[in-house]
Structure formats: structure tokens, C-alpha cells
């Protein structure tokens, strides 16, 4: 009986995960014959990607997502730590996550309203006869990423911190550690699983987003996600779009393997 109970999941996995992946792989390895409209095998899509224009977009995406992840970590770790030490930490955490219940698009539009030419900040600045171009650049995209994905960093770190055995921290004090050394030698290493899932959960959506770069970056800050969207929705070149997606997937896979390595290294004792 047990054998068959997994059956629905097998179908699900095949229909909604494996099949689309295979299709993307198939499309990425074909080009459309312009006369007949037939799909023929070709590596042209992948070769095309080496165009410096696209390489720049890839680099820009990884760079922005990387910076956003680092900023989220720097902001999120202390935040998670402070919240975990509060008396009513559950409530504070809820307040913190509350904006996430609002629609993602809406939140990003709100930033447009704040940063735009006639937006809130520029209206304030106009009192001093200053005008600033805040929207449609990499910084605006970064801000959007950090704002939208910060909770994904805070949550997993908060979870490991509140669950941490307090007697381990006391043991470190007992053995002569100052608070800072206790953090470095015990608290931080033990919270690494939370940091790693936080980093993953921020980096992945950040590197593949197209909404944030579309709305806050305008045409000025183009990311991989925008390329994919463009190929599928505007240019109607599914083959090239699929090739970009495959590369993006490989990129994320590499990133996760790397993180996994770090995690394993710390598990195996110090040094």
C-alpha cells in the first residue's frame, strides 16, 4: 500500500516540475526556422549569450542580488538578534512581517510614489529648491530588493536564535569568553543554518526578479529576469528565453552548492 501512496506526488512532480524543465531544455536547444516555423536543433541560443551585452546583464544581476543579500544580512542579523531577545518577540516579529501580507506589486508601486519625480521625497526637497533623480537606477533597484526581501533574511535567523540552547551561551561565558567572543565562537557558528537559508531565500528571488527592476529600474537597470520576460512576452523568442532560464538555474544551483559546502565545513568542527 505504502508504495502506491506516493503515486500522486510522482504524477505531480512529473507534470509540473519535470515536464516543464524538459520543455525548457528542449526549447533552449532549438531555433525556429524562419521560413517553415519548424524547431530545429541548434546551440545558437547559448552562443548568443556570450554577447557582451548579455554578459553585462548577468554580471549586473549577480552583483545587485549579491549586494542586496549582503545588506539584508548586515541589517537582518542584528535585527533578528534584537527581536529574539525581546519579551514579546512574537508580536514584534508579526509587526515586522505585516507589510509582507500586502501585495508585492503594491509595495513596489509605493516606492515609486516615494522616490518619483513628483514623489514624496522630491516634494520635500523642493522646499529647498533641490531636485534629485532617485528612480530608475541601480540604487533604486537595490532599495527595492532589500525592502522586499529583508524579512526572508530575518525570519530564519530569528528562528535559530530563539531556539538556541541558552546554556551553550552561558558555557562560553563560563569558559572565559567576553560577549563579543561568545558571539564569534558560539552564537554565530550555531546560527549559520539560519544565515544560509536566509541568504538563499534573499539571493534567489533577487537574482531572478524582473518586477523590481522593471518598476524601479526603468530601462536603466536591466536584470536577467527582464531578459527572460522580454524574450517570452515581447520578442516571442521562447528558445532564447529558455536558454537564459537554464543558465539562471545553473547559476542558482552553483550558488546553493557553495553555501552547502560552507554549512558542512562548520558542522565538521572548527578549523
Amino acid at each position: 500500500m505504502k508504495k502506491y501512496s506516493a503515486f500522486p506526488y510522482v504524477i505531480w512532480t512529473f507534470l509540473f516540475i519535470l515536464l516543464p524543465l524538459l520543455l525548457i531544455g528542449y526549447y533552449s536547444l532549438t531555433v525556429k526556422n524562419s521560413q517553415t516555423g519548424e524547431l530545429v536543433f541548434s546551440l545558437a541560443n547559448y552562443v548568443n549569450l556570450f554577447n557582451p551585452l548579455y554578459l553585462k546583464v548577468f554580471l549586473n544581476s549577480v552583483y545587485l542580488a549579491g549586494i542586496a543579500t549582503v545588506i539584508c544580512l548586515i541589517l537582518g542579523y542584528p535585527m533578528a538578534m534584537i527581536i529574539s531577545k525581546m519579551k514579546h518577540s512574537q508580536t514584534v516579529l508579526l509587526l515586522f512581517i505585516l507589510p509582507m501580507w500586502m501585495n508585492f506589486l503594491l509595495r513596489t508601486y509605493a516606492w515609486m510614489a516615494i522616490l518619483g519625480k513628483n514623489g514624496f521625497i522630491n516634494q520635500l526637497l523642493s522646499l529647498f529648491h533641490v531636485q534629485m533623480e532617485l528612480l530608475y537606477n541601480n540604487n533604486a533597484v537595490l532599495l527595492g530588493m532589500v525592502y522586499n526581501f529583508l524579512p526572508f533574511m530575518v525570519l530564519p535567523i530569528y528562528t535559530v536564535l530563539v531556539k538556541m540552547d541558552k546554556s551553550l551561551i552561558e558555557a562560553a561565558y563560563d569558559l572565559g569568553c567576553t560577549p563579543w567572543r561568545t558571539f564569534r565562537k558560539v552564537i554565530f557558528p550555531l546560527s549559520l543554518p539560519g544565515v544560509i537559508s536566509g541568504v538563499t531565500m534573499v539571493f534567489m528571488p533577487a537574482v531572478s526578479t524582473f518586477v523590481i527592476s522593471d518598476l524601479l529600474g526603468g530601462g536603466q537597470s536591466v536584470l536577467i529576469g527582464n531578459l527572460v520576460q522580454e524574450q517570452f512576452m515581447k520578442v516571442n523568442n521562447w528558445s532564447f528565453g529558455s536558454a537564459i532560464s537554464v543558465i539562471l538555474m545553473l547559476l542558482i544551483l552553483m550558488f546553493m552548492t557553495l553555501l552547502h559546502r560552507i554549512d558542512r565545513k562548520y558542522e565538521g568542527g572548527t578549523k
Binding site: A171, A172, Y173, D174, G176, P189, Y266, T270
Partner: protein, 346 residues
């Protein structure tokens, strides 16, 4: 004064206004094995945590070699702790766990290596350096926790029910090993337990606590033979405790009978408690018998028989190597020096 290594003075700890440790005074000599004994919730852990620096006393002072240490954080006290649930670092190997304190003190690597392997052989776990914490049994983790604390050669080692999670046989073994280590290394131990037998076998000095207050301080024999009140007598072992009246020096009345005793110093006709240990009551048929009753039950306990004798609706618990069958009429005799008289608790 000078031989007091650590001393607690009028120590009080309150949580939200309720007194958990209520004005206790104690001191420990260097190289002494002190046990804090008491029922669950009496404030033992809280007292130990104040000595270790993990709790700040609400009032009172703690002196180490005559100098106050209450304002020092734990990492500046020459004191180490063996935590109740071991608290070994799961992300480090056994070697790194034991070396942790020495590493923090920036001791050279060769010296650390030497000390760690010496400690591992002391706790009978040679060759465990590279093992992971969660691959060890409870008893082994306990030994590592002890090694991790002892390797720092603290002036005082605090132990909070370190053997609580072990099974009886292992616990007995570890009791002996701990006592041996303490004497061998010449380190002062402050040991918390609620197991009276453990306290009696290991300690040089016992503090008995109840509801945040010290009930009695003394050597194991003092406490066993001369309990100061009914709580101590009851807690330290099975006892017969009955109310009585102190007639005059060396004469006491209880169970409707006048007994000779050896106690003095109570007021004439003062109401007191009388404690008699089960092994101190003699069953006899001769004229010495002071009380008369009927054997209600006899149970073999391995080394001795445990009998309950009913006398005027009072139950007397008696231990003896000679059994008496149930229903038999017997006489009871208690020697004067085995009658312990204690003040009635307020």
C-alpha cells in the same frame, strides 16, 4: 576567616517580588567538597548561578578570598561550571570542546594538547579527541563536560546535578570518580543535588535548604545523626518523627511514655519533635521494652527487613536483620543516645 575560600553573606534573590533565595550565609574552605541539598524548587540552582555569575543577587555579597565578586561577569571569575544538561558545543569536536577555555586564554598549542589528553585520560576517554559531541552517550558527554571545566584548573568547580540524567549504576560509579578527581586535583567543589544519598557519600560539608532558607549546615555524619529539625530528619532519610514534651534535662515524654535521653538545653515542658531512625529501634521481648505493639508488615529489603509495628494507632518504621512475623506482639526499646530531640518548626 582566612581559610574561607568563598563566602556568601546575607544572599537574597527575588524574582518578581517572591524570594527564591532567602538571606542565606555560607562559606567553603579551600579543597572542600560542599553539597547544597534540598527538594526541587528550593533555590539550589539559583544559589549556584549567583556564585557562577549568571544571576545577580538582589542583595547580599559573595566574597572570593575575602574580595567581593558580585560585580564580576562570569568570564572574569576563576570559577567553572558543569551544567545540568552538559551544554557541550555541538559544532566542535571533543578536542575543541575541552580546549575551548585554554584556547580563549591563548595558551600555546603544545601545552593545550598536553592538557587535553591528560584530561581525557583522567575521565577515561582516551582517544576521543576527534569524535563529535552527538556521537557520545550521556555518560560520556557528562565526562567531557567535567573535563572541559576541570582543564581550566578553576579555584572552584560548580556542579548542578551533574549525574541527574544517568542511570543508577553509572551514577554510583561517577560519584566515586568525581570524589576521587576532586581529592586528586585539590579543587573546591560546590555540588548541587536533591539526592540525599549522593550528598552523604560525596561531601565534606552539606548545606540543607528548603524554600530558599538554609535548614542545617554540617558534615554528613552530623546531619545524619543530629538533624536540627524535622524537615532535615525527614529529608535525609526515612525517620520516625513524633511530637513530644521535653520534661527536664535528659528526660523526654512521647507516645505516652517517659524516656531517658541525652539531650539538654530545652525549656521544661517545651513541645518538641522527636526523631528516631528506623535502624535505632530494637525489637525485644524482655523487660527493657518501653512500647508495645503488633507487627503489621515485614518486607525483606536485601540487607535488612523493614517492619511496621503499630502501637496505639501510631506506626513505627523499624529496620532489623531479624524478621518478626506479622501479627506478633512485640516490645520496642530505644537507647537514650538514639533519641534525637529537635525544636518544633514554627
Amino acid at each position: 576567616m582566612s581559610n574561607r575560600l568563598i563566602e556568601g553573606i546575607h544572599l537574597v534573590k527575588e524574582y518578581d517580588g517572591s524570594r527564591v533565595v532567602d538571606n542565606i550565609d555560607f562559606w567553603v574552605k579551600s579543597k572542600e567538597f560542599l553539597t547544597i541539598l534540598g527538594p526541587s524548587g528550593c533555590g539550589k540552582t539559583t544559589t549556584l548561578r549567583m556564585i557562577g555569575g549568571f544571576e545577580t543577587p538582589t542583595s547580599g555579597d559573595i566574597l572570593l578570598s575575602g574580595k567581593s565578586i558580585v560585580s564580576l561577569p562570569p568570564y572574569e571569575r576563576p570559577i567553572n561550571t558543569v551544567f545540568q544538561r552538559y551544554a557541550l558545543f555541538p559544532h566542535m569536536s571533543i578536542y575543541d570542546n575541552i580546549a575551548f577555555g585554554l584556547h580563549i586564554k591563548k595558551m600555546p598549542k603544545s601545552e593545550i594538547d598536553k592538557r587535553v589528553s591528560k584530561m581525557l585520560s583522567l575521565v577515561n576517554l582516551e582517544g576521543f579527541e576527534k569524535r563529535r559531541v552527538n556521537s557520545l552517550s550521556g555518560g560520556q558527554q557528562q565526562r567531557i563536560a567535567i573535563a572541559r571545566a576541570l582543564v581550566n584548573e578553576p579555584q572552584i568547580l560548580l556542579l548542578d546535578e551533574p549525574l541527574g540524567a544517568l542511570d543508577l549504576k553509572l551514577r554510583k560509579e561517577m560519584q566515586l570518580e568525581l570524589k576521587y578527581m576532586q581529592q586528586d586535583l585539590g579543587i573546591t567543589f560546590i555540588y548541587v543535588t536533591h539526592d540525599q544519598e549522593e550528598a552523604l557519600t560525596m561531601s565534606d560539608k552539606i548545606i540543607i535548604m528548603n524554600k530558599g532558607k538554609i535548614q542545617q549546615v554540617g558534615s554528613p555524619t552530623d546531619i545524619y545523626n543530629e538533624p536540627e529539625n524535622a524537615f532535615v530528619a525527614d529529608f535525609i532519610g526515612e525517620s520516625n518523627i513524633v511530637s513530644g514534651i521535653f520534661k527536664e534535662d535528659k528526660v523526654v515524654e512521647f507516645a505516652g511514655t517517659i524516656f531517658p535521653c541525652i539531650d539538654t538545653g530545652f525549656a521544661r515542658d517545651e513541645a518538641i519533635d522527636v526523631v528516631v531512625r528506623p535502624e535505632d529501634i530494637e525489637i525485644t521481648a524482655d523487660v527493657r521494652a518501653q512500647l508495645h505493639g503488633v507487627v503489621d508488615s515485614t518486607v525483606f529489603k536485601g540487607v535488612h527487613y523493614e517492619m511496621i509495628v503499630i502501637e496505639n494507632e501510631r506506626e513505627w518504621l523499624i529496620q532489623s536483620t531479624i524478621p518478626h512475623e506479622e501479627g506478633k506482639q512485640v516490645g520496642l526499646y530505644i537507647a537514650p543516645d538514639l533519641i534525637h530531640i529537635m525544636k518544633k518548626e514554627a
